[in-house]
């Protein structure tokens, strides 16, 4: 069945900069904002934009992500034609298949999937961004401009521009040059890693790129520069609003904190652009008689007997009497035992913080600000009663310290 637009969501990255959090799960399956997982944002954006056919390219630790997506029903992506499809690497005729070598190769290996729907346009998305975006507007811009490729961009502060892929554009926002992490940026329009291609053009470039033995088979490094070099019409689509790459521990923590301040642009209470999630069946949250909750979110299934301030608490979390959680992200099923103090930390799924333990501390306590950072307790890690986990320290599920590179 023909579809005008098919979205392809790149969800196979290892997420190594999230260290212990991605030990057993793919990055897009990481819990976010209490109720959600990262992938809920691009999936909900697709549905809200009217895109009903989505391929999710998985490779690294896909089991939890696969089970989370399931039939796609929570996002209304359980369609009789189209819907959401998990696309792992596979073996083709004569041992042709391989692991996905790069972002472009992942799409190349699934040309057959896209061809099933014979689309006019293909939208390429990342599974590690938190944002709300109407892809239909980008596709509209793409159609009107008659471009081969439309790249979603946003203005970033000039001093941060050297960290991004920067698009240099002319007066009509045609992309004239693309520079990956330029030392002296000529523009502050950063690529968001969100592309809309005319499928015929992209298909041709994917096949050619596959034939190039020195290519890294990557959109940013190969496909986009090749198209530019050939003089293809490429336009920028300017996005304004909240967008964050949550590929690092700090940015993941930041984005969670951003969610608490709705006026910052990430408003998940907005009925016009709902973010859907697969919600576990849990009883409502219970706040005990000594609970003190302030500027925080709490999710169903949680029991709060202590203090929670400036924090994001996911479902089925227990915060015991006399315990305090401040400026922290607590993932599903974690237990903060009575009297424990958790500050400036990420507590992974199912972790157990023993009674009276102390995890993390505020930046004001640090002697050397460069040595300070958020503390991270990996999923299912057990912190003993009275134990101290220093700021910037990270423990994996076996309670072994992991160093940040």
């Amino acid at each position: 069945m023909k579809k005008e637009v098919v979205a392809m969501l790149l969800a196979g990255g290892q997420g190594s900069r999230l260290y212990v959090l991605t030990g057993k799960v793919a990055k897009p399956a990481i819990p976010f904002g209490g109720k959600y997982r990262i992938i809920d944002f691009p999936l909900s954006n697709c549905v809200n934009s009217g895109i009903d056919t989505v391929g999710v390219l998985t490779q690294y630790q896909p089991l939890e992500l696969n089970s989370y997506i399931g039939s796609g029903q929570p996002w209304d992506l359980d369609q009789s034609e189209g819907g959401v499809h998990i696309l792992p690497p596979y073996v083709a005729q004569g041992d042709q298949g391989t692991w996905y070598k790069g972002t472009a190769n992942a799409i190349y290996q699934n040309i057959g999937f896209i061809d099933l729907y014979d689309p006019e346009y293909v939208v390429i998305l990342s599974g590690d961004h938190i944002y709300k975006m109407d892809y239909a507007k980008m596709v509209d811009r793409h159609k009107r401009s008659g471009a081969a490729c439309t790249i979603s961009v946003m203005e970033v502060p000039w001093d941060e521009a050297p960290r991004f892929g920067i698009m240099n554009v002319d007066g009509e926002d045609n992309v004239v040059e693309f520079e990956e992490k330029p030392r002296n940026p000529k523009s502050n329009l950063a690529s968001m890693g969100i592309y809309c291609f005319s499928w015929k053009e992209l298909r041709k470039y994917l096949v050619e790129d596959e034939g190039d033995p020195v290519s890294q088979n990557d959109f940013g490094k190969n496909i986009i520069p090749n198209m530019l070099a050939d003089g293809k019409k490429m336009v920028a689509y300017r996005f304004a609003g909240y967008w964050k790459d949550v590929g690092t521990l700090d940015s993941l923590w930041d984005a969670n904190m951003d969610m608490l301040a709705r006026e910052g642009g990430l408003d998940v209470f907005d009925n016009e652009w709902p973010i859907y999630a697969r919600a576990p069946r849990k009883a409502p949250a219970f706040l005990g008689q000594n609970a003190m909750v302030s500027h925080s979110v709490i999710t169903q299934g949680s029991t709060i007997e202590g203090t929670v301030e400036n924090s994001v608490v996911a479902h089925s979390v227990a915060v015991g009497a006399g315990a305090a959680v401040r400026y922290s992200v607590v993932m599903p099923g974690a237990v903060i035992a009575p009297g424990a103090v958790v500050e400036y930390a990420i507590v992974g799924e199912g972790a157990h913080i023993g009674a009276g333990a102390k995890v993390g501390a505020g930046p004001e306590t640090a002697k050397d600000p460069d040595q300070w950072g958020i503390a991270v307790v990996g999923p299912f890690c057990c912190i003993a009663d009275g134990e101290t986990v220093a700021p910037n320290k990270m423990l994996d599920r076996n309670h072994e310290e992991v160093l940040r590179k």
Binding site: R262, A277, A279, F286, N290, M292, S294
Partner: protein, 366 residues
């Protein structure tokens, strides 16, 4: 698995529920901060592997239809079987209400004939409990009984029928207005489909409408009635006072542990709400709070449903506030039950009493 068919009677009318049932039946009344009463019975069935459930409805069923939809939130949206909504009326006079369960069953007889399972469980949609229905069926088969009747150790509030039970679990007498002796009837029954059809035919032929009187009392010497003792929490809600009291019991951890046992989760319609946000300076204690709320004021001893907004400076205590209700700043609300989508405007003070909670009807603006 899939040995038993579920039938839920969900047409409960109850004047003492006042404004709460103005637009709905008792069975679809919101309960426990994110559920409707029927969710408990329906989930109990689904958790026991019941794959086909018929819901008998009559009058005021829009809210039930809206809640259950295709049944997909209970995994009952199926090619074969699954959830079947059965609006029905008495065969002899469709204009009046059912005089009893046998009359309701006679009205859906053709549906029952097509049931593909050997056993049937009959239950009330307005009984709040989390029953291990798989165990009930196992015991029914083991005991060799004709009908297994589920009962509580004692008479539960709002239910007058008691069973006198012998040591082997056989029910020796069914008492309509009993004293404190005997077990409290929970009006949940397991029997074979074959027996159910025979009972329907016999009662229909003799113009008998009441399961209780015609079957349990009338045939107790002919049929082997077995009591299954359910020791968990059960609440039968027949009035606003019951509703308020039973709701407030949910603030007790033992009651919640019982109703929300993790092995048998209660399912309900999914709304995709965000996590609840508690603002700076908010105070929220001893309360059951659902997702999707924004709490900026003070909440104490209350049950707050999905999507409720309590503005800064508002004080809500000993209240039940149903979905999407907005409480503006400066409001004091005490001992009140605010139905869905109510707006309480700035500065209002509304107070009921623990013995007589104030009911504010759906969509009203105060």
């Amino acid at each position: 698995m899939n040995r038993m068919h579920g039938i839920i009677f969900a047409y409960g009318k109850c004047e003492k529920m006042q404004g709460l049932v103005e637009h709905r039946v008792v069975d679809s009344t919101p309960y426990a901060a994110r559920y409707r009463m029927i969710d408990f019975m329906l989930s109990s069935m689904v958790n026991a592997g019941v794959m086909d459930v018929g819901i008998v409805m009559q009058d005021k069923y829009q809210s039930m239809l809206d809640h259950l939809g295709s049944g997909k939130d209970w995994d009952l949206s199926r090619k074969h079987g699954g959830l079947r909504l059965l609006p029905a009326a008495p065969k002899s006079d469709p204009s009046r209400g059912f005089r009893g369960k046998m009359e309701a069953l006679a009205a859906i007889e053709s549906y029952i004939q097509r049931i593909r399972q050997e056993y049937v469980i009959l239950a009330n949609g307005a009984l709040v409990c989390n029953m291990p229905m798989g165990d009930i069926l196992d015991e029914h088969i083991r005991s060799g009984a004709d009908i297994t009747c589920v009962c509580a150790p004692r008479r539960i509030n709002g239910q007058s029928t008691t069973y006198l039970v012998a040591g082997d679990g056989t029910i020796t007498d069914v008492v309509s207005r009993g004293g404190e002796e005997g077990c409290g009837a929970l009006e949940t029954y397991v029997m074979s489909k074959k027996l159910l059809l025979e009972l329907i035919a016999e009662c229909d032929g003799h113009n008998e409408c009441s399961f209780h009187r015609a079957v349990l009392q009338g045939m107790k010497d002919r049929l082997k009635l077995h009591a299954y003792l359910f020791t968990g929490y059960a609440a039968r809600i027949l009035s606003v006072a019951d509703y308020y009291e039973r709701s407030m019991e949910l603030l007790r951890s033992d009651v919640r542990r019982d109703l929300f046992t993790p092995e048998r989760p209660i399912r309900t319609k999914d709304r995709s709400d965000a996590s609840t946000y508690y603002g700076p300076g908010s105070k929220c204690i001893s309360s059951l709070i659902s997702d999707g709320c924004i709490i900026e004021g003070e909440v104490e001893n209350s049950i707050i449903f999905r999507g409720v907004h309590v503005a800064k400076g508002a004080k809500v205590s000993d209240c039940i506030v149903m979905q999407d209700t907005v409480i503006h700043s400066g409001v004091t609300l005490k001992y009140a039950i605010a139905d869905k989508n109510v707006t309480i405007t700035e500065g209002r003070t509304l107070m009921g009493h623990s013995s007589y909670p104030l009911v504010i009807s759906k969509f009203s603006v105060v």
